[in-house]
């Protein structure tokens, strides 16, 4: 709060200059300040994800998991600047792809507003969120190079393309795109940001496989002790706080919507946590209750992200309760399917992202649907958006992972996985083997 007051104090001179002329520059400055504050909050999510993921993996993998979170931000900041921003928000070519603004080379004549730089920082933070979701799901066994390639593909192509389809009209009136034309609503990114990260995560963990020894020969789940639930708890609280900027800042203006949006965001997380706790205690024999409780908070936040601007407080409560329970059910289902997601990224970002997007139609106030559709029709539109995201993201992620597997290699060595590893990997001595005996054994192969 003190920081916000300080920022406002810094703005006073510009207010004083602007006031006699017109209120418009003041409003524009306040809007930009709010978006900048929100961008800072969304950037803080990187720290939240780092703490959450480093705390959720085994101790030996905590350092590299933390490093990957820092590195993917660097990759994202570079690729989104060079390509991602333009592909996502540039003037649309056929409603499919942005065609200008590469490397932020823009001119006012092209219609770009003066607030471009502030909006770029805000959107960059969003792109970083989509990318970093994947690091947790694939942690402990994915190679550093492979992960960096995936991050680059997500922020250069996968996220910006789908983002263009859903949000391509954010800066230019009439810049209608594939999903904006049909009235798809995803206010702050349940699908655009979180499901994209979730789909990439799901495809990634299926291709890379589980951590060594995670499942027994008959599918039994072997417990792998998380490094620090306290660190994970800190991560969740950082994310919870940052989400006020994630959703509240998505107004792109400091107006009367901000308060209700932040309130809805907070309510959904609260009731998701409580719903998950009760559900796990009553129906799941308290199995993994601590990580489920922490992930449910995030599930509630993801769930309300699409509809936070058009649901009532009670609608946000409903989204939170259902998202929390969905998180629990999805966590157990993944284990039954022998899908290893050490941090629970898939239940949180994919399952709750999809559910939250559908909840726009289910719990949203229909008079606030921007396209004026009825409730059932809006649910159908939301479903189209969800499926489009799944098909695009799933297919591109699949091709990316298969290419990496073919030419680079997805995993670290078994020794590195057992003992932990760094960015440069570890030096390994090949096992000394009696060559003659080995050749003899090989003759039988």
């Amino acid at each position: 709060m003190a920081w916000l007051v300080l920022c406002l104090a810094c703005l006073v001179p510009s207010l004083a200059v602007a006031a006699p002329e017109s209120a418009a520059p003041v409003t524009a400055s306040l809007d930009q300040l709010w978006v900048l504050v929100a961008a800072a909050l969304v950037f803080l999510m990187q720290a939240g994800f780092l703490a959450l993921e480093a705390g959720s993996v085994r101790e030996k993998a905590a350092p590299i998991t933390a490093l990957k979170n820092v590195a993917d931000w660097a990759i994202c900041a570079a690729t989104f600047f060079l390509f991602g921003w333009a592909l996502m928000f540039g003037h649309s070519a056929g409603g499919l792809i942005g065609a200008d603004g590469f490397s932020l080379e823009v001119s006012p004549a092209g219609g770009w507003s003066g607030g471009l730089w502030v909006h770029f920082m805000f959107q960059l933070a969003f792109a970083g969120t989509a990318a970093t979701i994947v690091s947790g799901a694939m942690s402990e066994r994915t190679g550093f190079v492979a992960y960096m390639v995936v991050s680059a593909v997500v922020t250069t192509l996968i996220y910006p393309m789908f983002g263009h389809w859903a949000w391509g009209n954010s800066f230019f009136a009439g810049n209608e795109t594939l999903l904006t034309r049909i009235g798809f609503v995803d206010f702050a990114g349940s699908t655009v940001v979180h499901s994209v990260g979730g789909w990439v995560s799901l495809v990634g963990v299926l291709i890379v496989g589980p951590r060594l020894g995670r499942f027994g020969p008959n599918g039994e789940v072997r417990h792998m002790r998380p490094y620090s639930m306290a660190l994970s708890g800190l991560g969740v609280l950082l994310l919870w706080f940052s989400w006020w900027g994630f959703n509240g800042g998505s107004t792109l203006a400091l107006d009367s919507r901000v308060g209700p949006i932040i309130n809805n965001t907070n309510l959904s997380a609260t009731f998701a946590a409580l719903g998950s706790l009760l559900h796990c205690a009553l129906f799941q024999h308290k199995r993994d209750i601590t990580p489920k409780f922490l992930n449910a908070v995030l599930g509630g936040l993801v769930g309300v992200t699409a509809g936070c601007a058009i649901v009532t407080p009670l609608g946000a409560v409903a989204i939170g309760l259902t998202s929390g329970v969905l998180c629990n059910l999805a966590s157990d289902w993944l284990l039954r399917m022998e899908i290893d997601d050490p941090v629970g990224a898939i239940p949180v970002h994919l399952f709750c992202g999809v559910w939250g997007t559908l909840c726009v139609g289910i719990f949203g106030q229909s008079h606030l649907f921007p396209s004026g559709k009825g409730r059932l029709e809006q649910i159908g539109v939301q479903l189209v958006g969800v499926v489009t995201c799944g098909l695009w993201t799933g297919a591109t992620a699949l091709l990316t992972f298969l290419a990496i597997k073919r030419w680079v290699g997805l995993r670290v060595s078994p020794q590195e996985e057992h003992h932990g590893f760094g960015i440069a990997g570890t030096l390994e001595e090949p096992e000394a083997v009696d060559e003659e005996s080995l050749r003899k054994a090989l003759e039988e192969i």
Partner: protein, 70 residues
Amino acid sequence: MDVTVSQVSVKKAGGYNLLSVAEFLAMSATERTNLILNRKIEFLGPDGGVLPMLEAVRAINKQRASVIER
């Protein structure tokens, strides 16, 4: 004690891939032999531990024979 190979880790240009025993046995004999002689492969037991190379090669031969029998 009997050794059982559950998975195979294969070194690639910038990392490793994990294969099932069936995927490994589906490779040509020449490719498998080259991987082993060039130390680009490691055999893993049911708990994910790395198995001694010689024992693992003998074990996988037995496993292959039983697969063919079946």
